[in-house]
């Protein structure tokens, strides 16, 4: 069964040189040529099919269109051309902590952030202790979130976000930040999730983690799909184009000696 179907999708962004126009600029610009702005085509005729339960890695250089693709699947952007069809509830952990509010307490933030992510009040109450335990913030329950360290905030956001039951999970590099303990937690969450029938799309520059957890991989470059298939094969092509990560080079030279 298809989980995500992307058919011939293009997405352009207007790049304006002065940001949001003022009223005056808007009126003046009405009869003028659009020389002061240009279009940036983030995705060019992308077609993809991801089956239910597939675990797919998403690789590509900065600006290749990974985030745009994620946001299109998430429904934050609408495609200019083509169509995006998604079956099931999408949860995206693209940036950790953007829904947190600094001047509210950890307790209030769990409720607020949970609500934005689509949890009901009773679901949050039922999972409250668990969320607090995963984030390891029991001691700071009443503290304002702005007083927490960056890592603590990420743990809090992660703990809430992972409580939401999803059919499709979109993950960005976020999971690879933080200290070792937090990363381990993220990876054990990943392993757990991968065992379920959830469809997972994981964007990362960490090729080793893609290799380890994701049987299939999409390679995007310059808004186009370069390759989509078995992870080992895709990664091999990717590496032969852009070079191998440091550890691999070290291992290879060690083997040569």
């Amino acid at each position: 069964m298809t989980s995500i179907e992307i058919a011939n999708v293009s997405k352009r962004f207007r790049v304006s040189h002065y940001g949001t126009p003022s009223l005056f600029q808007l009126l003046r610009g009405l009869g003028q040529s659009a020389s002061h702005k240009h279009n940036f085509e983030a995705l060019k005729g992308v077609s993809l099919k991801i089956q239910k339960g597939d675990k797919v890695g998403l690789i590509g250089r900065n600006g290749a269109g990974k985030t745009t693709l994620m946001r299109l699947i998430h429904g934050i952007y609408k495609p200019d051309e083509g169509s995006v069809t998604v079956h099931g509830k999408v949860v995206a952990i693209l940036q950790l902590g953007i829904g947190l509010i600094g001047i509210l307490s950890v307790r209030d933030n769990i409720y607020f952030y949970g609500t934005i992510l689509g949890l009901s009040g009773s679901e949050i109450r039922a999972n409250y202790d668990n969320i607090l335990a995963i984030s390891e913030l029991e001691e700071f329950e009443g503290a304002e979130v702005r007083q927490l360290s960056t890592g603590m905030r990420q743990r809090l956001a992660f703990a809430v976000a992972t409580t939401v039951r999803a059919d499709i999970l979109l993950l960005d590099e976020v999971l690879a930040v933080g200290d070792q303990a937090f990363r381990n937690k993220c990876y054990s969450f990943l392993t757990e999730t991968l065992a379920k029938s959830v469809t997972v799309l994981y964007a990362s520059h960490n090729l080793a983690s893609v290799m380890e957890y994701f049987p299939k991989t999409i390679w995007l470059d310059n808004g186009r799909v370069i390759d989509y298939g078995d992870t080992a094969e895709v990664l091999e092509k990717y590496k032969s184009k852009y070079g191998r990560p440091l550890e691999e080079r070290q291992a290879m030279s060690a083997a040569a000696v």
Binding site: L23, A92, G99, T115, I116, L117
Partner: protein
């Protein structure tokens, strides 16, 4: 994606408003007194200035004036806050998928909670000033509700516009400043001589809301039911228009911010 007007949608709207209100630092009595200071000072100044001039012919001028100020403040505070609702939460709009009007509802809801408290203070003040209590006072919340519809409608429109034109905020705060004098807050309609001035002021639904509350509280009856009906009509039309415009623009908010 959360379905519009579902149970979860209203749950989110409530949560946004509740925490919005908490963030305004008004959940404490002291915080509330701070926000009351502004309308009370304005009231004192206008009362001292106009008691023997514009207010000389108005029975119970003190209560008359405060009713005007509280109505005006409700509209001005909520819409001024709403202008920046979306642009100040760029991260949330770009990173998460939920109906965007909830952000506006939250800010407006928080402002309306403070306004309802101001209405309570107003009623207390009227009682202290010796205005005879009557059952008509119980109808003041209906005026409040009608004005809330107007506030929500206008808020949606200005919040959406601000995403596309960056000086809407400035234009709006200017309009609010000028508008203060174009509504009978510290004078009565009878002093207006020119037909134009009269027409402009009578076209404003806020005028009719103030008149209705004044009649209900000071005279214990509602003589100008037609005016209130007109106000409700304008508010409803603007709400339908505002929601339609907002829905149309909603998909491009994330791209423009």
């Amino acid at each position: 994606m959360i379905a519009p007007y579902s149970e979860q949608y209203w749950n989110m709207a409530r949560t946004f408003a509740y925490y919005g209100f908490r963030m305004r630092d008004q959940s404490t009595v002291l915080g509330f007194i701070w926000t009351l200071l502004h309308p009370l000072l304005l009231f004192l100044i206008l009362f001292v200035l106009f008691r023997q001039r514009l207010g000389a012919d108005i029975p119970n001028f003190a209560v008359y004036l405060l009713i005007g100020i509280v109505h005006w403040n409700m509209f001005a505070n909520a819409t001024n806050k709403a202008v920046n609702s979306l642009v100040s939460r760029r991260d949330m709009v770009v990173g998460m998928n939920f109906p965007r009007e909830l952000i506006v509802f939250g800010d407006v809801g928080a402002a309306l909670i403070s306004s309802s408290l101001e209405f309570l203070v107003l009623i207390l003040f009227a009682a202290i000033m010796g205005v005879p209590l009557s059952f008509a006072w119980l109808l003041v919340p209906i005026v409040f509700a009608i004005q809330s519809v107007l506030v929500v409608a206008v808020s949606l429109i200005v919040a959406g516009l601000q995403v596309f034109v960056r000086d809407v905020e400035r234009i709006w705060s200017l309009l609010i400043r000028v508008g203060f004098f174009a509504v009978p807050i510290f004078y009565s309609l009878s002093i207006l001589s020119g037909p134009w001035a009269r027409a402009v002021i009578l076209a404003n639904p806020l005028t009719h809301n103030m008149t209705a509350s004044r009649e209900l509280m000071l005279e214990g009856r509602l003589a100008s039911l037609g005016g209130l009906g007109y106000s409700l009509g304008v508010a409803t039309v603007l709400l339908i228009l505002g929601l339609a415009l907002f829905r149309r623009a909603e998909t491009s908010f994330a791209e423009r911010l």
